[in-house]
Amino acid sequence: MPLPTHDTLMKTHPLQGQYPDKNGHFGFYGGRFVGETLMSSLMDLETAWNEAKADPAFMGEFRSMLANYAGRPTPLDFAERLSNHIGGARIYLKREDCAHTGAHKINNVVGQGLLARRMGKKSVIAETGAGQHGVATATIAARFGMSCKVFMGAEDVRRQAPNVLRMRLLGAEVVPVTSGTSTLKDAMNEALRYWVSEVENTFYIIGTVSGPHPYPVMVRDLQRVIGDEARRQMLEQVGRLPDLLVACVGGGSNAMGLFYPFLDDPCAMLGAEAAGEGLDTPHHAASISGGSPGALHGAMTYLLQNDEGQIQEAWSISAGLDYPGVGPEHALLHDLGRVRYEGVTDREAVEAFKLLCKFEGIIPALESSHALAAALKEAAKRPRDQAILVCISGRGDKDLDHITAYMKANNL
């Protein structure tokens, strides 16, 4: 599918502020597909969030913590040597890897942590895949003196050992989840089960633009700082908006955060999904490119599932993208043709990872390497006077053992 032109975009404008509706629907997607026990808490959370968002003192504290604790704004960085190597469009990097805890996840967690405190909750829980969201949640729990439990698939505990250590150092309890496929989806199942038993005292900090309403819109609102900053930085440093934005999409929070402030601008957008060993194999995690609509973890969205609605195992080298669903707003943006979603294989991601290390001295996360790979392909096709903005959503230190093993096994 070609990238949408400016004219076709204008038919759906303005997109900002149009979604979701009052029940959390992004067109056909989103909503609240949960057991009745959680409904009251989700409604209370929605009310609390709407009040907090409208409270200048709350938002002032959020901005102040992002600046002084999380280290924002993160840089916008021209990748000159990498751009020269590719020989096409100029590539700019939004450096979320420079944020405290090493990924964009901290933005959302600072906001939800402040909201939990405002609501008087003393304990927080989270699910995590790569461990970045778990580390961010453990970090904010330490900062606010809250108790913290992080649910993590047993397989991911193994793949992401450094982050498990970090969470424990920060005082969080890491709960290995062995049900189902022992990955992110099962961690989220278990977090939901725990939450329903402790719903009155516990704040569930969901790490992506997924889950039941109001999480997708709340997390988007907290992550849009990525795009707001990048838009301002592009205008200040480059004097123009980018022609193309690229971000990786697992649940899709860094992508939603980057894309949202640009939705009504004449900028094309590309979401890089994890194609694992290829979209023509069963081993991928590309819910939009290789899935179909359905309801999971509280939202209607695109899912990897069989003909009878059983959820299928996602597969990716990157634990953070290894999820069989995607945020509902991405599902809508796909259907509207506003964002193109494309698969990037494990191998392509690792090759892009190596290039960024070699040409820019930046070690990106495996998740972000998917975005970079998609951006490099586009850059090669475009002239020098075009600008591509890529979100480097996190740093890759956590992935080093895993990547080294992969390179060895695949002669890379």
Binding site: E36, T37, S40, N189, E200, G294, A295, G298, G309
Partner: protein, 266 residues
């Protein structure tokens, strides 16, 4: 008249309470599951709640999670669950409620689900992760059919919402007794009784209690405060723990008789 309504009317006239038995469809396999269901209907169960196995049962505790896995591994699916209901309907008149998560129904096609469950002789659908706000499409698909959409209420549900849920309920209102997922234990009888009384006061339909009810003593304690009790994990556990080669339907029947006696004690 819908078999669920008929059953509750008959029970009320006799001043008796309903025993609603949840069993996972196809656990441990299709044929054994059918035998267990038939035996259950002969052993004092008033309503069968037939659970469609799902890969991600977020509302269920470990016992039903594992049962779901067992059934899926034995090749179970929504279409086969409907076929199991149809087989059961050939020999029993007990009302059957098909219990499911929304995704298998949605993916199968709601119109197709409505048509096939009606043909199978199913009397109600209970979709555990489908609050009324999201139930429009399924309600539309069920229009004109003799199938109730069973609603749930929870300990966290506020009074206004209880009234909304009760008003639109079909068949009976499933009142969740405590926080958490399905599974045994954790009940505070006095708390449950208080909550049940408040809900019954505003609900024009029978109210059945579920979650955590697992013994004859539980049944005896809670029977007076509701119109029926739902037992799931306690029955499913009997299947899970049955020694190899044992007569599983007979073991399940023993547990059902224990619950029945508790329920009928005065």
């Amino acid at each position: 008249m819908n078999r669920i309504d008929q059953t509750f009317q008959t029970l009320a006239a006799a001043n008796r309470k309903a025993l609603v038995a949840y069993l996972t469809a196809g656990d441990p396999d299709f044929d054994t599951s059918l035998q267990i269901l038939r035996t259950a209907c002969d052993s004092g169960v008033d309503v069968i709640e037939l659970g469609v196995p799902f890969s991600d049962p977020t509302c269920d505790g470990p016992v039903i999670q594992v049962a779901s896995d067992r059934a899926l591994k034995a090749g179970m699916s929504l279409s086969k669950s409907i076929r199991l209901a149809a087989e059961l309907r050939k020999t029993v008149s007990t009302p059957i409620v098909l219990f499911s998560y929304y995704n298998p129904l949605f993916k199968y096609g709601l119109e197709r689900v409505a048509k096939e469950v009606q043909e199978a002789g199913v009397d109600g659908l209970l979709v555990v992760d489908l609050p009324p706000e999201e139930a429009g499409p399924l309600t539309a698909a069920l229009a004109g059919k003799e199938i109730h959409l069973i609603r749930l209420a929870a300990p966290t549900t506020k009074p206004d919402r209880i009234r909304m849920l009760a008003d639109g309920a079909g068949g009976f209102l499933y009142l969740i007794t405590r926080l958490g997922v399905t599974g045994t234990g954790g009940l505070d009888y006095a708390d449950v009784a208080k909550h049940a009384a408040a809900v019954k006061a505003v609900c024009p339909h029978p109210v059945c209690l579920g979650f955590g009810i697992s013994t004859g003593a539980d049944a005896r304690a809670l029977a007076p405060v509701a119109d029926g009790l739902v037992v799931g994990s306690a029955l499913v556990r009997v299947i899970a723990q049955a020694p190899a080669g044992s007569d599983i339907p007979a073991l399940v029947a023993v547990k059902i008789r224990e619950l029945r006696e508790g329920l009928d004690a005065r």
